[in-house]
Symmetry: C2
Subunit: 716 residues, 2 copies
């Protein structure tokens, strides 16, 4: 509810940015090298629908428009000001504008937070002005804002202006990098995708990345909200927006840079050392249904596919091609992305075979051969007619489509009609286009909502993402219908979590046990006699481990003895462990030696938590031992997680099969793992201000049930 109210507020304010009736350009200039000139020209060339007022104290007229000395002189109320002026003048002009009723501003100037402390101060002053005068600011240090549906070309960048606009404009784009944004805008336009909104948010002093996503989600004309992200400051909001987007079936496509900058954190826990910024973002995107793009090519092709409005019903994909080679390549790529190039059933094959030349192939991919594309292009229609009625086919890809068709070609008209009537997801892949000269046939297809994707094989990745998204969307719908089965515990255990400490194993176990996680039977002994007594209570065989908050890695100090079977052995092990620990860590505060039941063999997994500076508590799951250490076969999700998230965390491991039983072993209790993941999620949500890191390593999983065989908790 809260977010909906906020949205209405912010959207109202942003509306002035995207739909101003009047614009004033500070620093408007006749000098063609100045951004004040370029900006004015962009608005004029773009055919902005409202009034434009150049502001410049020394000019009378610029580009045919009357120039004003100050904003006070402007005859109408100004909705938006664009500041094409240096940093030294920004604050004054902004205040002056606000005092004259201006509600929105774009600031291009650099020299703010990006240059360090001095700039941060200046930026904070901007923030204050924005709050005090209730004026929304895009920038500073940005390339600007476009609304291509009303001619608002709020930019000085020559890369963004003079680009022909496509007919369908239903994808919005917001970027944290100006230059990368411009590049994406151009590339998209070259491939027939014109963004309706383009926002370079710059330093985000006021209007943030998420604000723009929010605006686009609420804008009925926008079908896909896309963006380029370097780092999100408000992941909570992005998460809520993503949930909402999934609800209304409006995909969010984001390219997140910084994939490899995993960063090296000094972390005591395994989980902490494995958690890089990138794999946390990856988990976050997966759990929120945000579609991750890897490059601007992805943004373009994913957006094209996603904005078609159809969702594939499943993974069965048929390919109709005029190039055998290309067909094989696309089929290969489909297989590698988990799509299914299904064998068409005999009846379908027969029906297709009847209508294509004998040298063409009717198995999937259906290869009509190059000859067809040149001499007999209407052949493309025949397989479509049949596949459109094949219940086993979910998606049809037409590849290397004849490009000499145009809007008057009857076959193309019929092609479009069948596509529109069919519930199949259908798109066309084709030769790379020649720059801006988009073939007429392509344009006709695009205008009728059939995506045409030019270039290399990445539409296949796009299709795979769309199928994943469709599944996420359907699942979200189903989940919504069912009551959420979340683990509710919320116990008062704050006394077990003293500030800024590394808890010993037995202390850590106690916390887990309070949250219903099964731990080993154990007790801590400070003398040999106590250890023997505990061993007898627990029952042989037992394990002895050093218990000290200062020794998180017990193996390294030779602090563990397994499979101890008698009183004598207990005494010996107690001695040895104690001495070894004292020798290795003379300063350590040793609570004693923990005596534990010796657990039977099972599959070792690791469940962990780390605290990310952006996302807060993050849950990790992986296979234990060398799998986590060498193969780094782990998955992450941002807390809190759902049952579905927990399931996916297991399934996405390369070694997932190990849990299902290999080499004559029975499958382990995956439900019990999910239960632990959900309990840990609840625990760190309840105590997010107290818990910094958790390692349950190993959690031993059996055919029935699990036991946390070792645990480490670090508090804040």
């Amino acid at each position: 509810m809260k977010i909906m109210n906020e949205m209405r507020f912010s959207n109202l304010a942003l509306n002035r940015l995207f739909h101003p009736r009047t614009i004033a350009v500070y620093g408007a200039s006749e000098n063609t090298n100045k951004i004040g000139y370029l900006q004015l020209k962009a608005l004029l060339d773009g055919g902005f629908e409202g009034d434009i007022y150049p502001i410049n104290p020394t000019s009378k007229k610029i580009a045919g428009l009357t120039c004003y000395k100050t904003i006070e002189d402007v005859p109408k109320e100004v909705d938006l000001v664009i500041l094409c002026i240096g940093i030294n003048h920004v604050e004054n002009c902004l205040i002056e504008s606000a005092k004259n009723g201006v509600k929105a501003a774009i600031i291009f100037a650099s020299g703010y937070s990006e240059i360090g402390s001095e700039g941060i101060e200046a930026q904070n002053r901007l923030k204050k002005i924005a709050d005090q005068y209730n004026i929304r600011i895009v920038g500073p240090n940005c390339v600007g804002l476009l609304n291509t549906t009303n001619g608002l070309m709020g930019t000085f960048s020559p890369g963004l202006t003079n680009i022909p606009l496509g007919k369908r404009r239903e994808v919005g784009f917001v970027t944290q990098s100006g230059a990368f944004g411009v590049l994406t805008y151009i590339a998209a336009a070259q491939r027939g995708l014109t963004f309706n909104y383009f926002v370079s948010v710059g330093n985000e002093v006021d209007v943030a990345f998420t604000d723009v996503i929010e605006y686009m989600l609420h804008d009925s004309k926008t079908k896909v909200a896309s963006g380029y992200l370097e780092g999100e400051k408000n992941p909570e909001k992005l998460r809520e927006l993503a949930n909402y987007a999934l609800e209304i079936n409006k995909p969010i496509v984001i390219m997140k840079s910084g994939r490899s900058s995993a960063g090296s954190r000094a972390a005591a826990s395994h989980t902490g050392s494995l958690a890089g910024a990138d794999n946390i973002y990856d988990g976050f995107f997966k759990q929120t249904g945000i579609v991750r793009a890897d490059d601007y090519d992805d943004i373009i092709s994913f957006s094209k596919l996603f904005s078609s409005g159809k969702l594939p019903a499943g993974r069965n994909t048929a390919i109709v091609t005029s190039s055998g080679g290309r067909g094989i390549n696309e089929a290969d790529r489909c297989a590698s992305y988990g799509l299914n190039i299904h064998v068409l059933n005999e009846q379908i094959q027969k029906a297709i075979k009847k209508n294509i030349p004998n040298y063409a192939s009717a198995v999937n991919p259906i290869d009509l051969t190059a000859a067809a594309a040149i001499t007999n292009p209407e052949l493309f229609l025949e397989p479509l007619k049949i596949l459109a009625n094949d219940p086993e086919t979910d998606t049809i890809i037409f590849t290397e489509f004849p490009m000499n068709w145009d809007e008057n070609t009857p076959s193309l008209q019929e092609f479009v009609r069948i596509c529109q009537e069919s519930d199949k997801f259908i798109f066309v892949t084709t030769f790379p286009l020649e720059g801006m000269s988009i073939p007429k046939g392509t344009q006709y297809l695009e205008d009728h909502g059939i995506p045409v994707i030019t270039g290399d094989l990445n539409p296949i990745r796009g299709l795979a993402k769309l199928v994943d998204y469709s599944e996420a969307y359907r699942k979200a719908k189903k989940e919504k219908a069912q009551p959420k089965q979340n683990v509710k515990i919320t116990k008062n255990i704050r006394h077990l979590l003293p500030e800024n400490r590394t808890l010993s194993e037995s202390q850590s176990s106690e916390v887990l046990a309070e949250y219903g996680i099964h731990t080993t039977k154990h007790g801590v002994a400070d003398t040999e006699e106590k250890a023997v007594q505990l061993a007898n209570e627990i029952g042989y065989p037992v394990v002895l481990k050093i218990d000290s908050p200062d020794i998180p890695h017990k193996t390294e100090v030779n602090g563990i003895r397994l499979n101890i079977a008698s009183d004598e052995e207990v005494k010996k092990a107690f001695q040895e462990i104690y001495e070894s620990a004292k020798k290795h860590c003379p300063e350590a505060n040793i609570h004693g030696v923990s005596v534990q039941e010796m657990l039977p063999e099972g599959i070792e997994v690791i469940v962990g938590v780390t605290t990310d500076p952006t996302f807060g508590p993050v849950i990790m799951f992986g296979l234990g031992g060398v799998f986590v250490e060498v193969f780094k076969d782990v998955s992450f999700r941002v807390a809190p997680i759902t049952r579905e998230d927990a399931l996916k965390m297991m399934e996405e491991l390369t070694g997932h099969e190990l849990l299902k039983g290999v080499r004559n072993k029975k499958p382990v209790d995956q439900e019990a793992i999910i239960d632990v993941l959900l309990k840990v999620s609840t625990l760190v949500q309840d105590y997010r201000d107290d818990i910094k890191e958790i390692d349950i390593n190993p959690l031993i999983v059996y055919e029935n049930g699990v036991t946390a065989a070792d645990a480490l908790i670090i508090t804040k």
Copy 2:
């Protein structure tokens, strides 16, 4: 030596194809819908340097050229005929041509091997004609052959004609798919890369994929030989060519399709079941230094980088950019491909800082900001001047280069001069181009040998491949300088390899032992008493295993007992194993029970051999147990392998670290693994007609030495 002679022969013959003085076009036509018209027009428009003779019994003149009824009427000797005629006329025309001294032909017609048995017969007849009359044939079922350096546009495909030609034409391209080849040709031209040769080999009745590669390797004007491959029939030749190419430092770039069609073979060995066509090709490309491309984008960008003639000295890469976002992306991508975005040393940073604005960043990536690109593009020169003399920098990437420069811009001229004088590998990445209108500045850079790569991030993959190639090239050079240290054994063990059998473990071990591979001490007992006697000879503890050629997977019949410590236990185990095997496999021929020493714990690996229908014996290496079963962490090479290959096979495993010692363990004896791999390679080379599959699973590796703990050999 053999290959060199063959080359001279085939190159002489192919020369007629690529450099004919006269061409006759069978089926030349005035009907603009016929390929006979399109072909003639292509030759005329292409400005072919020699004489062109249309052949058509019913026309007098076509397109201004005198038409001839038959080839006998043509006044000059014809070097090349292009058959634009249906399959029914092909054989007659071909024979007629050959009788009139024609040495080469291009056949477009379809209806040959691609349509099945009838077509195969027709194709065999073509083969006969080629051999009998000594005429070289390109095709049938192909798109044709181009030589863009002499106007030989031997094609009917409108996609290939009327494409402007770039100035530098130093990359050749051969394709097994016509349509995919056309697509690649167009895309390459759009990005400023014009192939010098383009050959669509079609059904390869005569001129094969490798023949064209061979021709390009010997052609002094070709700097890179590239190709699109669906399946190579002569891998031996490709291997020899690849070795030769590495020797003369002329990279071969191949896109191999069929990545995912791993194919499911019924194989008794683990190795056989894991060997897919694709990972064998992958191994083959790695060991031969062939650069694998994944898409036509790769072919283009790799070829551009590789044809520059320079090789990066190492992995240190500096990025100079006008887009911070793009810089970060490229840096990320570099890291993920193992390239190093090195921290520039302080002196270098200081020097750069001095010459760029204060808001620009001098750390790597060096971000000059978008403002620089627009208002002050000559800033790009400053970091170049400094980095060109930085001994720590190997490669410099200039990204988002100012595109409004042209050949008269002094800064661009100086840029080129510095690049040419520098030993650094330098290239430019930039905005996607607008179709054929390549900016003048880009053209100027390309003309001066500085690659400009437009579009997405794949140049970074290209750079990584180039660095790998450079390393392979330098290694090949070094290896050539040293004598080859190969394992030479060649023992007569044919009697141990009876035809078409699955050998029992002890039989398989014997074969391995003959080739110097350390196996377990063992003997086969057919009675309890014999088993006890063997156990005492070997020394306790021992292992008992069922020994039968009919039971390759002993665990499945409960046929293994480990850690047996006494005579009594031996007797019991013998009984149980024998009975269990009899029960599970009543038909099996049981040799007895193998009594073996119980090996101490070590790291388990798998060494295997499978026979590939294309490549023959292929060697596999992987980590044992679940690593091979679940993670499929294995590597392949085609036999015979070198020491270097064996080393790389270990290094490329995800779990390679396990061999180097983790969790307080010492590193294992990697030299001993290499020794086994080389011995196995020699064994299967010596007996390639006898051995079909080998599994050594596990081979147990210790700190010193290895032991084959189990073995399986299947013969042909």
